[in-house]
Structure formats: C-alpha cells, structure tokens
C-alpha cells in the first residue's frame, strides 16, 4: 500500500495536497485497492462551497458506489474532467488522479487530518 509523505489523509481515505491556498483532493491507494476497478466518478460542481466532511462526490466500482467527502473546507474551483472518460486512472495512479481542487482559507484547520505515518498506522489497524 502506497502512501506519499507530502500529503495529508482523512479517516475516510481521501488524500489532500495543500499548496498556495489551494487543496487538491483524491482517494488513496488503500481506497482504490479496496474498491476494485473504478468505472464512474462524479465530482462536485465548480463554485460549490464545501465544509470539511461534506460530500465531495461519488466513486463507483463495478460492485458498489462509494461516497467521498471533502477533508477540508473551501470553494470548488476545478473538477478533473479526464476522470469522467477514464475513471480507471484512479486505480492506476491514485495520487496523480485528483478529483477536485478547492480554494481554501489560509487559517484552515487541518487538525483532523493525518500525516503519512499516522495514516499508514491507521490503515494497518483496520
């Protein structure tokens, strides 16, 4: 199971990269492995205002639909349209396949998010 050191992680297996007031969000290697072949991705709408914990969208595998949640609060400024045509990219490259980008506040609370080591330990405990 792959975990990238520079990212932050939620208990629901989303990863988030925070850079220059923006947050890129996707799902982790653990998540795509559990889901199996992903066949459908639905992200949020550009302009949506989300609070941490709000539904960000849906990722569907052959067998099941799985809700994804925003790990941070912010306003959606971009959605990854490539995933609509090639949802399998999330299986192939989970950390390179961001689902949405949010504009976030500078004083954003990332207290509930885990760093790479904490997330790895968390996954081992499951």
């Amino acid at each position: 199971m792959e975990v990238l050191k520079e990212l932050l992680y939620s208990k629901d297996h989303e990863w988030v990269k925070i850079d220059s007031g923006k947050a890129w969000i996707g799902i982790t290697d653990f998540a795509q492995e559990e889901l199996g072949s992903i066949v459908y991705v639905e992200g949020p709408k550009v302009g949506d205002n989300l609070s941490a914990g709000d539904e960000l969208g849906v990722v569907e595998s052959v067998k099941a639909a799985s809700d994804i949640y925003s790990p941070v609060s912010g306003r959606v400024i971009e959605v990854n349209a490539v995933l609509e045509e090639k949802p399998e990219l999330i299986n192939e490259d989970p950390y390179g396949s961001w689902i949405a980008v949010l504009n976030i506040d500078n004083d954003i609370s990332i207290g509930d998010l885990m760093n790479a080591d904490e997330y790895e330990k968390y996954c081992d405990s499951l």
């Binding site: 629901d12 297996h13 989303e14 799902i27 653990f30 998540a31 559990e34 889901l35 199996g36 072949s37 066949v39 459908y40 639905e42 849906v58 990722v59 569907e60 595998s61 052959v62 067998k63 099941a64 639909a65 799985s66 809700d67 994804i68 949640y69 609509e84 045509e85 299986n91």
Partner: protein, 444 residues
C-alpha cells in the same frame, strides 16, 4: 469515502477458501458463504472469460439427488418445463413455482436415468428447495441433499474446450462433441468428475462436479483446481470470482434469483415463457395461476436497458418516466421486436467510450436540470414505473446497462425511461436482450 463492507468471518467456506486467500482473493459474503469476489480485478477476469478462459469456484451451489420409480412424475409436478423431453445424460433448465406462480428457484435438472436425477440449485435456496421438494414428492421417491459432499467448478470461455482436451486425456473423445446441456461421468487423473457443458456466461464452457466425501485422501478440490489452472496457463486462463460471474451473466441477460426471479416474480414476468409448458400432461404446481396470467397478459416485465446519460444503474434504483414517454412507448411497440418471442434475439451492442461520454454528458445536463426532488418530479409528470433488478458497468460491451422490472407498457425496445441514481433522473433506453451474441456449443 466509505470503504466497502468486508466479510465478517462467520460464513461457510468452500474447500478452496485457504487457497483463495493465499492467492490474494478479495472475499465477500454471498448467501451465507465467504466467496472470492475477485482474485485480480473484476474487469480483467470478465475479459479473460470472454477472450480466453476463466475458472470459478461455485461450490456454494446446491445439489439434490432424486431417485425412485416415480421420480419423473414428481419432478414434472414441481417443474414448469417438460422433463419428458429429457434423455439420459441431458440437462434441462426450469423454474420451479409456488401455487401462485411465483418462483421457488430456477434450477438445472440432470437426468442420469428415468428414475435418477441431479437437481442443481442456487446457493441461497438450498434449504428452502430441499424442503419444498420433499413436501411435494411421492412417498417412495427419495430426495437426498448432497450439497455438502460436492464441489463445483465452472470453466468458461472460448479456450475452455482446449483446456478440457488437455485435462481429460482419453476422455476428451466423449466430451469433444458433447453439446450444450449434456453431461458425462469422467475420470480425470484418477478422480471421478461429472462434467457438463453448461454455464452462466452466455458462452462455451464446462461445469465440473466432484464428490469429495467419497474421494481418496489425495483427491482434493485443490488438486482439481490446480490441474485446471496449470493446464490452462498456456491458454490464458484466469481464476475468476463472483464479481465477474455477475457481470458476465448480466451481459448475457441471464436471470439471477433474488433479482429477476423471486416468490413475487413469475417466469412470464421474467421473460422465461419458453421454459413454461402450460400444456404439459399432468400439469405442474402454479400452472393455473400462470394460465391466468398468460391469458390476461403480464402487467409488468423484465426488460433490458442501456444508459443514455452518465451513471451506473444498480439493483433497487427506481425507473421513472413521464406519461408522454409511456404513450410514445405504446407507439414504438407496434414496430418493435417482440421480446417475448421464443426465438433467440441476439444483439451485439458496442458503444465507443468517446461517443458514449459525449452524448451522455449532454443528456445528464438535461436530465439533471429537469429533476431535483420527488415533488418536482410529480410536477413534471414523472411517475415510477418499476425498478432496476440488476445493473452494472459491463466490461466487454464497455457500457452501463441492466435489467429492470417495469410496467409492461414501457417494456418494448426503444422506450425511453429514466433511472433514479441518487438525486438525479438519468436517461436510459429499453433494448432487446441478450446484450451480447450467445455462443453455445451446438454440437454435431
């Protein structure tokens, strides 16, 4: 995101469980059993079966042995199909009905002799079926539940014959020209194996049954499994799980009990008319109810559909339409092919990902704009006309499709419907089934 439910460890296991875990299989709960949903991933296993071969462990299925002088008469009363047409070493598919025409189970009947049959039943129905059958047997007909003694594997795909030829040795002569729905008792590397030309994928394949209660210590399920995988390697065989089993049977539009068949769904509603012989001498349980339904016409039918908008249809999702759609469907019906006809209807349905995506985004925008809440739906004249019984992304066709139990007025190919996926109504279209061209061994 929420991760899918993992098995809870309290279910029954087939003899291959440890081996499957060692192979890295992802396990799932199914009908009280812990079964592999996939070993690698559903899509590659599905494609292996369509282009090469796949091997399924289906030992959770049930087997009931019926024998006695009156066995045929008893089975004729239980089954809607006409078993008098069976000869030795041939197999027939039949629904088994309650008095009200609802389905107890859909089964395969293997005839050894006029007084000896093997009934193969769905895993979730074994106890129920044994009870139902025993209740309805002549006192001198003997029924024995041998499910726990038998393992069952399914070897499916265009290369399944090549693999069987390698494994069967001198037995291949008997199997080579065996046509679909036939079986033979064979010996493979010293093991007694019953082999039938049957399957649940819409293509060529074999199912293998072995009594492991009577087998020698060295003859185990693992040995047979490994013999097939080892010999199949050069032909591209892959072990395949229940995930691919479901997408394969759905591409072939084969019914799954609990979805397209149930105590509440009759064989006529499910489109299984050709397996119901209303004129059969002696009748059968449920005949009167089915005669009535046949005379009056079914009010609802299982129909195949493909998604036009973006989204994956799944079991339980509502099917809605406007009254205008229903009226339009009535017009389409006159020109459309009658899906209840007995002849095989083959449709090869291929949608390129690019074309589908382009069309579907536009449709979804339109559908999304028209539907938000139930109240809005009613205002716009949307009513519920049924529900999805099975739906999925189908890997070979590369499209989102499914089966739905819907108002008969909407069931003709060409009818426009909407599938309620979460809060959106996504456009879909009724199409004829099966979704792929079936490719059974016709025999010489």
């Amino acid at each position: 995101m929420k991760t899918p439910e993992l098995s809870n460890g309290l279910n029954r296991k087939t003899p291959l469980y440890d081996l499957q875990k060692a192979m890295g299989a992802r396990m799932i709960q199914f009908s009280g059993w812990e079964m592999p949903v996939s070993y690698d991933d559903i899509i590659s296993e599905h494609m292996a079966v369509r282009t090469h071969a796949g091997l399924f462990d289906v030992s959770h299925m049930g087997e009931i042995l019926i024998d006695g002088k009156h066995a045929l008469d008893d089975l004729q009363r239980l089954m809607t199909n006409d078993l008098s047409k069976l000869t030795d070493y041939r197999i027939m598919y039949s629904p088994m009905c309650y008095e009200n025409g609802g389905v107890v189970d859909d089964v395969l009947i293997y005839r050894f002799a006029a007084d000896k049959y093997l009934i193969v039943v769905n895993a979730g129905n074994v106890t129920n079926d044994v009870e139902w059958i025993e209740q309805n047997l002549n006192s001198r007909t003997h029924a024995e539940n041998i499910s726990d003694d038998y393992i069952q594997f399914s070897l499916q795909g265009p290369s399944s014959g090549d693999i069987m030829r390698k494994i069967a040795g001198c037995e291949w002569e008997r199997l080579e020209n065996m046509k679909y729905l036939s079986f033979a008792e064979c010996n493979i590397e010293g093991m007694d194996v019953l082999i039938s030309r049957t399957g649940y994928t819409g293509g060529d394949g074999f199912e293998l049954y072995m009594d492991i209660s009577k087998a020698k210590i060295s003859d185990t399920a693992q040995k047979l499994w490994n013999i097939i995988l080892d010999n199949g390697a050069e032909f591209g065989i892959k072990p395949a799980g229940l995930g691919a089993r479901d997408t394969l049977r759905l591409e072939a539009a084969l019914p799954l009990y609990g979805h397209e068949l149930s105590p509440e769904i009759t064989p006529f509603e499910a489109g299984l008319e050709r397996f119901v012989k209303l004129d059969k001498v002696g009748g059968f349980i449920g005949r009167d109810a089915l005669i009535k339904q046949n005379t009056e016409g079914v009010l609802r039918k299982i129909a195949g559909f493909k998604m036009v908008g973006r989204g994956v249809p799944r079991n339980g999702y509502e099917v809605v339409a406007t009254e205008a759609d229903v009226e339009a469907a009535g017009g389409v019906a006159d020109a459309a092919v009658d899906v209840a006809a007995e002849r095989e209807i083959s449709t090869i349905c291929k949608m390129s990902a690019g074309a589908a995506a382009g069309a579907s985004v536009a449709s979804e925008v339109a559908a999304g704009e028209t539907a938000a809440s139930a109240e809005d739906n009613r205002d716009l004249g949307f009513k519920t006309y049924g529900y999805v019984t099975s739906g999925s992304y189908l890997p070979f066709i590369k499209a989102n499709m499914g089966l739905a139990l819907i108002d008969a007025k909407l069931s003709k190919p060409g009818s426009k419907i909407y599938v309620k996926i979460r809060n959106s109504l996504v456009e879909a279209e009724i199409i004829s089934t099966p979704f792929i061209k079936k490719d059974y061994r016709k025999g010489v």
